[in-house]
Each structure stands twice: as structure tokens, then as C-alpha cells.
């Protein structure tokens, strides 16, 4: 079961990265909807930098 959950969600850092990026992008979408997608992509790339190094 633990293996399956890890398979789906990854570790805590992965879940936190996606959650933070999505929440921030959602916040951006309230102010400037057309910029929300770019914000999400940039935040995910930043999360990848943090996790990869």
C-alpha cells in the first residue's frame, strides 16, 4: 500500500511542491487569469530545480 501511494503521489516534497505551485497559480488566476498558466509552469520548473539539486 505504501509503495502504491508513493507510486501515485511521490514523497512529501513532491506533494508540497505541486500543492504550493497550484495554490500560487490559482492566486494569480484571480488577479490575471491569462498569467496563471505561465506562473504554474515557472513554479513547477523552480520546484524541479530545488528537488534535482
Amino acid at each position: 500500500m505504501k509503495k502504491l501511494l508513493q507510486l501515485i503521489f511521490g514523497d512529501l516534497r513532491n506533494v508540497a511542491s505541486v500543492a504550493v505551485a497550484l495554490l500560487a497559480a490559482y492566486g494569480v488566476s484571480r488577479l490575471a487569469p491569462a498569467a496563471a498558466g505561465a506562473a504554474l509552469a515557472l513554479l513547477l520548473i523552480a520546484a524541479a530545480v530545488v528537488q534535482a539539486i
Partner: protein
């Protein structure tokens, strides 16, 4: 089919192929230890469980397609979790911070493990290998299935299984020629693109967030692909100049 549907089918096909290659490597090692008939039976049992999961979850998804926006958001989040993990893993392999996944090494390790085990244990190794890799395929089919149709998604995964098995049998050797990390990296970029598109589109309104529509998927893919390679080259581990050559 639309561009998004072709993209979804392609992503499922490639991602499934990666998982099937891993599963086939394990089955091959087991087959050389306990024989093809028993190894194939174990693999078939593992595949049967995966097929059952795909069939059962498909019925559930078809029945629950009431709010497509909500479903897209949920699936998008799921894809982001899955895709980011693969993306980071592939970048770490390119940069030499994690060893490249080596099918030959996995093959040798499985055989070594089997030398100490009897027939039943070997059967379980093959069953477990196919089941675990198959579960990843199941997750992909469930996540991407609604873009084209659930049956087409399952068919795409099955087609890649057929291709990998045919190629594996033809080569009769561990599938070390498949550039696994490159394949995983491209699939991760595709999954992240779809995940981004649906997650924030589902939460905040697709037309408002993505005014360019489906074309954005290509832009997202290119952005993630280029950014990942830049991250990998900038974060290359000391003494890993050769990393990524085989990838």
C-alpha cells in the same frame, strides 16, 4: 482525433512502453532461470490483475463524467504529482546525480537474486515485477483515458505492450538499446504539460487561463523540455562528464 487526443494516446503509448520494457527485463531474467513457460505464466497473472484494474476503474470513470471541469482538475493534479516526480528523476540522471537506469544491471541483479531462490520465489519475482510496472501503466490509463476514450487509452497501453514483447522476443537480450532516460524525460514533459493544462484550467476556467487553447500544450512541452535540459546541464555533478551520453 484532435491534437490533444493524439498527444494523450502518444503519451500513454510511450510511457507504457517504458514500464513494459522494465517488466519484460525482469520476466526475461526469470525465464532464463525457471523456464519460459513458468515465467510467462507469472507475467500473465500480473497482467491479468492490471487488466482487471483497468476494466473496473474504466466503468467507474465512465459513470462519473458529470462535471468534466472538476474531473480534469483532479486528473491534472494527479498528473502533476506523477509527472514532476519523473521529470526530476530524469533531470537527476542527465546531470549525473542519480545513476542512469540500466536494464543490463537490473537483469543481472534479478538473475543473482534468483540464483538463491527456488521456483516459487522466482515466479513471485516475475509476477511482482509485471504487477508493479503494470500499476504505473494503469495510473496513466486512468489519468489520460478521458482525453480520447478510456478504451482507446487502454488500447494504446496494450499496443505498446505488444510492441515491447515483440521487440524483446526478436532481440532475445536485455533491452539496453532503448534510451530509457530520454524516453522517460520526454514522457515526463508531456505528462507535466497535460497536468498543468488541466489542473489550473479545471480550477480557474480553461478559456480564461489558456486563451491559446490546445496549442498551449505544445508550448508547455517545449518549455518543460528546454528548461529540464538547462537545469541538468547547470547542475551536473562533479566528475559526471559522461553522464547522459547513453541517455
Amino acid at each position: 482525433m484532435t491534437a490533444a487526443q493524439w498527444g494523450g494516446a502518444g503519451a500513454i503509448f510511450l510511457a507504457s512502453a517504458v514500464e513494459w520494457v522494465e517488466a519484460f527485463t525482469i520476466v526475461l531474467a526469470v525465464a532464463l532461470t525457471i523456464g519460459w513457460r513458468r515465467a510467462a505464466a507469472a507475467a500473465a497473472a500480473g497482467l491479468a490483475v492490471v487488466a482487471l484494474l483497468i476494466a473496473v476503474t474504466g466503468v467507474g470513470i465512465e459513470a462519473a463524467q458529470a462535471d468534466i471541469g472538476l474531473i480534469r482538475a483532479a486528473i491534472g493534479i494527479f498528473l502533476l504529482l506523477f509527472g514532476l516526480r519523473w521529470y526530476v528523476k530524469a533531470i537527476r540522471r542527465y546531470s549525473g546525480r542519480t545513476a542512469l537506469h540500466d536494464e543490463a544491471r537490473e537483469f543481472a541483479a534479478t538473475r543473482e537474486q534468483l540464483q538463491q531462490a527456488e521456483g516459487r520465489a522466482a515466479w513471485i519475482v516475475a509476477f511482482k515485477g509485471v504487477l508493479l510496472e503494470g500499476l504505473e501503466v494503469w495510473l496513466l490509463v486512468v489519468a489520460l483515458g478521458h482525453t480520447l476514450s478510456y478504451a482507446a487509452a487502454a488500447g494504446s497501453a496494450a499496443a505498446s505492450l505488444g510492441l515491447v514483447v515483440a521487440a524483446g522476443l526478436a532481440l532475445r537480450a536485455p533491452l539496453t538499446r532503448v534510451p530509457e532516460n530520454t524516453l522517460k524525460y520526454l514522457v515526463a514533459c508531456a505528462i507535466l504539460s497535460f497536468g498543468s493544462f488541466w489542473a489550473i484550467g479545471g480550477l480557474a476556467g480553461e478559456q480564461a487561463v489558456w486563451p491559446l487553447g490546445n496549442v498551449t500544450l505544445l508550448l508547455l512541452f517545449a518549455t518543460y523540455a528546454v528548461a529540464g535540459r538547462i537545469i541538468a546541464s547547470r547542475s551536473r555533478a562533479p566528475g559526471s562528464a559522461a553522464a547522459g551520453v547513453r541517455a
